[in-house]
């Protein structure tokens, strides 16, 4: 058994859904690193305890009331859509039976003019000298997420051997 194996078991034991085996308990008693991990896991669970006081009954009634209101709104929207469709069908029927051509179909078809080699001048960039242009490019390359948390690799494309070697290097 490694420290990593013990760490994997810690959330289960902390949640009271399991207990230490004799081997695990002996390892925990001897390994300072694992005791630190264990203290951290327990502390993290304590941190969430304030969230256990949510008023479930109140949440139930509010969620159900909001869902009922949303369903009513959906029905009204659907009803409006059906009414609109029925009105459009009625107009189409009248046009067909009265043989009245639609007003927008009477004129000759027109084609929007097109311009070949159309280009949009970007005046602000064209007037910059080399140094200013470089500064703009560097700005573009700078990360956007100022103040956010750093990105981490997903590891999802690594095989078990590669993942094991990462974990090994962490323990080593």
């Amino acid at each position: 058994m490694t420290c990593g194996d013990l760490l994997d078991r810690m959330p289960v034991v902390a949640a009271g859904r399991g207990s230490w085996s004799a081997e695990e308990a002996a390892h925990l008693a001897e390994c300072v690193e694992c005791r630190e991990d264990w203290a951290l896991i327990q502390q993290a669970r304590t941190l969430g305890q304030a969230g256990e006081r949510v008023d479930t009954g109140k949440i139930q009634s509010q969620v159900l009331a909001r869902l009922a209101a949303a369903r009513r709104a959906d029905r009204i929207r659907r009803g409006g859509w059906v009414a609109g469709l029925a009105a459009a069908a009625a107009v189409a029927l009248m046009l067909w039976r009265g043989n009245i051509p639609p007003t927008n179909a009477t004129g000759p078809a027109t084609t929007a003019p097109t311009v070949e080699n159309f280009s949009i001048p970007v005046a602000e960039l064209e007037t910059l000298d080399g140094g200013q242009m470089q500064a703009v490019l560097e700005n573009l390359e700078a990360p956007l997420s100022a103040g956010g948390t750093p990105d981490v690799p997903n590891f999802g494309d690594l095989d078990n051997e590669q993942l094991q070697s990462i974990l090994g290097s962490m323990e080593g």
């Binding site: 990593g4 760490l7 994997d8 959330p11 289960v12 902390a14 949640a15 859904r17 630190e36 991990d37 951290l40 896991i41 502390q43 993290a44 669970r45 304590t46 941190l47 969430g48 305890q49 304030a50 969230g51 256990e52 006081r53 949510v54 008023d55 479930t56 109140k58 949440i59 139930q60 509010q62 969620v63 159900l64 909001r66 869902l67 949303a70 103040g147 956010g148 948390t149 750093p150 990105d151 981490v152 997903n154 590891f155 999802g156 690594l158 095989d159 078990n160 993942l163 990462i166 974990l167 962490m170």
Partner: protein, 175 residues
């Protein structure tokens, strides 16, 4: 024997409103715990629990049962926290002093515990999002790596590495 989440979701989809009541009763408290651990104040947690559950039921058809209903809910709640965090431009969502801390008779121990909790809460907000979510799902939700992987779109092995990295990083941040 109480019905499974999948059975309750199926019943709700078929129009049984009481299934929603049971699902809320089952998952509201773990959701509250998850949110508070994510840096949400206990007072705000209740509103966000309600919002997460409301959103979940509104798009219940998108739940595919590949991941558990609870970890799916945690993902929705995690997105809500992220949105709130963005709205406040990265500021902590709660004053640490607002939290309920362990009640110790020894004032020095109380201060130590409070200090350690503050550092842990701050450390959690500094973890990369993926590491934080894996850590919280595992520690607060008791979710297995396979399920975390299905929820967050990664592999079980990668989820395990993220969990180990998160613990290592938090230990450094808390020291």
């Amino acid at each position: 024997m109480s019905p499974s989440d999948a059975a309750l979701v199926e019943a709700y989809r078929a129009g049984d409103q009481s299934a929603a009541t049971l699902l809320v009763a089952r998952h509201a408290t773990p959701l509250g715990r998850f949110l508070v651990s994510s840096g949400v104040g206990p007072d705000e947690a209740e509103d966000l629990v309600q919002e997460a559950l409301f959103r979940a039921f509104r798009r219940i058809d998108t739940w595919r049962a590949e991941a558990s209903f609870r970890s799916w809910l945690f993902t929705i709640a995690g997105n809500l926290v992220k949105d709130e965090y963005r709205k406040r431009r990265g500021r902590m969502m709660v004053s640490i002093e607002d939290r309920d801390l362990a009640d110790h008779n020894d004032p020095a121990a109380t201060l130590d515990a409070k200090d350690a909790e503050e550092r842990l809460a701050a450390g959690l907000t500094r973890l990369p999002r993926l590491q934080r979510e894996v850590f919280l799902l595992r520690v607060n939700g008791g979710v297995e790596y396979e399920e975390i992987a299905a929820t967050l779109g990664t592999t079980p092995g990668a989820a395990r590495v993220h969990f180990h990295h998160a613990v290592k990083r938090l230990k450094e941040l808390v020291r």
